[in-house]
Symmetry: none
């Protein structure tokens, strides 16, 4: 794996590609721009990753290998849910600079699925989806593949994801929302309480 002291070029390519894929999406991104930003030759992509798609896969896998997993199910599932939401939202919204392009890549992949979608689903989305469902399962006392659990998971994910998808729009319809750390905490708190109310209702209903 370690080809050279640091395997510099390969890593630089993945970094640059991550940024540009995040900015422009898979199809719009050009190998030339990626290589230019990485300070490498156009043919370097072919050498290290065979393909544009190979590079894309390497970027995704790089995320999966250096994961940013939210905490596991603690003893208190409600606390776990709050943690999950807070962690996800923080990652989604803050950061931007540095290594946090994972999620913008996902957004592009959702709007216009490419050949890389299966990789993303398997490596990035699947584990988080499973974790969230296990948390919900503990709260509503239903098996984690129950339809209601799935629907609830999507309700929560939808609320979180909205703040990435909707970010360009939010600037127009809600100028006061600047995504300061405090505001993000406020949003996370809202989503958590809003969702917990929904889940408790479900728990109550299903119990009877």
């Amino acid at each position: 794996m370690a080809h050279h002291p640091e395997d510099a070029a390969r890593t630089r390519l993945i970094e640059a590609a991550g940024e540009i894929f995040a900015e422009q999406g898979y199809e719009s991104a050009t190998i030339r721009e990626i290589c230019a930003r990485a300070g490498a030759n156009v043919a370097a992509v072919n050498y290290h990753f065979r393909d544009k798609l190979g590079l894309y896969g390497a970027v995704i896998r790089h995320i999966a290998v250096n994961p940013d997993l939210p905490g596991s199910v603690s003893e208190d599932p409600e606390k776990a849910l709050r943690g999950f939401i807070s962690a996800m939202l923080g990652k989604l919204v803050l950061g931007g600079q540095g290594r946090q392009w994972h999620l913008r890549i996902m957004v592009h992949e959702l709007a216009r699925p490419s050949d890389g979608l299966p990789i993303i689903v398997e490596e990035l989305i699947g584990p988080r989806y499973a974790l969230l469902r296990s948390i919900i399962s503990a709260i509503v006392h239903l098996p984690s593949d129950h339809d209601t659990v799935r629907l609830s998971a999507h309700s929560i994910i939808g609320q979180i994801a909205h703040y990435i998808h909707g970010r360009p729009v939010l600037g127009h319809v809600w100028p006061a929302m600047q995504f300061t750390p405090e505001q993000v905490e406020q949003v996370a708190g809202h989503i958590a309480e809003f969702s917990l109310a929904g889940l408790r209702k479900i728990a109550g209903t299903s119990k009877q």
Copy 2:
């Protein structure tokens, strides 16, 4: 074909472009395919709209001019919310064919905003957002520009929008979900009850 006062070719181009931009997004769509579907020459776009971007603008403007009306606030706000969710979700998820490309264009516009975004926000999103906030305001007894109302509106919109954004992924993680009319109704019902629980909780809290 015939020389209509309404300039048939121009209209046909806009229709065709709307569909294809909705399917593929702005960058991926090609003038050739649009013209082919409109039964027009490749140079027609340049002739009528000067540019690919000019055509895109015309499509956006066409949406703004022919908006699809949102429902009004009925006397019972909870019923109004159920109706709103059901109507939005139905439009987003079903349909597809025909004239329903407005919303898919929005999705692409979110993933990769263009100059047309402000128009879309003002003409399409703004009215619905205002309507939803007024409904929520009636439920939680808070002014419609209160932060909590806004957050709740985003929670609900997020849940709905998730079923467009997430559709390609849902096929992988939840194969049973086929978006049959019955399933869509089930989803709408879940979102409504889930959200109403959240809103009632807020109403109770804010009352005290």
Copy 3:
């Protein structure tokens, strides 16, 4: 079909492509060089023929449409055979300049078959092969799809084709052979008498 007064560019492209395909073979030929020789843009190939392969097909078909068919079976089959050999050999060996690239293209196709081979077989080779077999059939009094007729046809074709395939070598092993018109006539006469002796032998054998 006639796009323009003379459909100039399209025709020029076919001419230039014919020459270059004949010189270099399908794979080694480059679109850029063809277009340069035709005085056209690189994209012209895509416009007129969609593909490099499309251009290749057009070249082959152009040959098939402007055919150089040797005469039909006259009443005297031996005379017909002499005519066939003479005509083929003359075309193969002489000319060179101008429109006579058909056969060099075939040679390349034989040495390294490309996707265009089926077209060539069907449009160029098939008809000549059938004609030759019908001539032989008349000489040896056997049906034209008899194995012996086929073998004899290949024996004759092989002798003729050898003077294309072998031309670069012939210059080394037989310097005196310069392919003057007289020499070509001498070769054609030899092949005809050589082959007629073989065919008469077969006719005699099969009669008994």
Copy 4:
């Protein structure tokens, strides 16, 4: 692997290159594939042969150094001719695998002569050509550099060579011909009898 005095890698490269040049021709062959088959590094070619062309030259030279011996003239020239035809045709058509790429390289060299052609002519073709002419000379009672002998030699070589050159086409126009050993023997027999008839005719003519 081990450090043989004979320089194993170099030899392996020549072997692999011979096979691949024979399969694909000079231009279409890639250094990468050759090195892969030889189990060597991409840079090995540059190291050992300076060039792709240098490698090609080494392959040609390797053929010249390890020639595959032609048969000798037996006492009965007609029997010798039958043997010659049978041997050539067998080598050309069968085999393939192993070390039999000499002749396919010739085919490519004919279609697109390179600097290596003279070597091939001198080392490979020349001796066989001389042998065949001496056999014919014995049959027709003419000196072996007589034009008629030369023409007859070309007639026979042409018939044989046709079954290499024409092989891709034969599959289309004569599907039944599968080049089984029996069929190859049938072809060899036909060529021999067909040609002997021609030669006897010449012998009779020249005698008178």
